[in-house]
Amino acid sequence: MRRFFSVTRAVAWRSIHNTIVNPAIIVPSIIFPLFFLVAFAGGLSRVSDIPNFHYAPGYTAFQFAFVFLQSAAFGGVFTGFAVARDFESGFARRLMLGAPRRSGIIAGYAVGAFLRWLVVAVIVTIAALIAGMHVDGNGIELSGLIGLGIGMNFTAALWAIGIAMFLRTEQAGPLIQMPVFVALFLAPVYVPLSLLTGWVHAVSSVNPITAVLEAGRGLLAGSPVKVALAFAALAGAAALLGVFSRRGLASAERAG
């Protein structure tokens, strides 16, 4: 177990070090959520005037919950890009030769993704508060929202690391991010689920991210809904994707 943690710590440290010395790595993961916050909370604020739209803290908070969780998911996705880059440069192969417990590599990348997302989450939250976001949830409820973000970040990181280890090329970028992007936008992003119509309503109703998003919005508003379901969905996805990323690692090991 000690060997596992030493590999995890080393890979996570390298990930953080790369982010610090190369701001180009973290800038896109900060800019995208900020830009979504501005475009959605600012440009679409009139959407809250649609009949039967009810969300007490207001549209900025409604969109913040989405942007917060989206930034968590993309924090994980961007880690997949780093893994792919490490394979293309040959670093990942050297890393596998030197690591006594290779599963620590996955954990290290995931911890790196989490630490990078923390920076993004703080910046996005400050931006939303400056934009006048109302927060009605108490400390415990807001901790729940942060917990959902951590779960989302971890789940997305496992997906991205798995794909990157299976394909081992930066050209896997679209395959890493597109499914996450589509799954996020097939949740009720702009209006509550009850106001969606047609095929998007049908898909949103069975999309597990819908439960996570609704739980996040409920916690932010101080009236929790579907919290247990959201955490269960994230735990289930993380378990499945944990196996998937481990298989990706095995595939990379076989490839040499």
Binding site: R46, I50, M178, L196
Partner: protein, 261 residues
Amino acid sequence: MTRQTSLIEQVGAVARRSAKGVLRQRALIIFPMLFPLILFAINGSSLSRVTELPGFPTHSYRAFLLAFPFVQGAMFVSISTGTSLARDVETGFLNRLALTPLRSEAMLFGQLGGAFVLGCVQAVVYLLVGIATGVDFVSGVGGVLVLLTLSLTISFAFASLGGLLALRLGTGEAIQGIFPLLFVTLFLSSATLPRNVIGTAWFREVATYNPVSYMVEGLRSLVIQGWNAQALELAFGLALALAAVSLALARPAMRSRLARA
């Protein structure tokens, strides 16, 4: 004795190479085309209730939103053009061309040939998707032809910008890094809501000064309004201005990239 090739022949040769490059790499066509369609499908349904807002100009949000993939697709064309020209810079292809009698204008305009092919394919696909999803074009068949022409003009304008950035920056990575900024200009425009319905004052102001708003509105006018001369003049005018400025700045950059010893 070898025959001196004309500028048009040179442009044709480079354009053929560029177009073949695009057609050979399906990822260059499929991803840029698919992404705007996914957003169109999702947002077209998710935001359909905004047509209930007072002052919204149409009852069909899908018809309102159809201009969005055209402009977003044009932005992808700029990235694809810029990336392939930057690759020519990075791989030394332009340096080798400097040993030939090829004129810098031929290289520049020819490179946009690939962008033209991509722009054509995208415009037709978006149009067919619009028709398939029940969008009614108020301006009729003539309006559809103008819509395709305007879409190609906008694609050409953004491709010219992509070419300029490639020649100035010289690396594909830098071009990819520019993409979020282009994306921002689309989202800070009237692409998802008309300016009179945007509630936040500063956002409305930004959208009003954002040229992308007028490109979107020109395309949209043909779908939901009919013939709106002012909207079309602004859209064509701004697209042509963007192309002219980009090409004017790109020419000296290309000359210096093709500098002969």
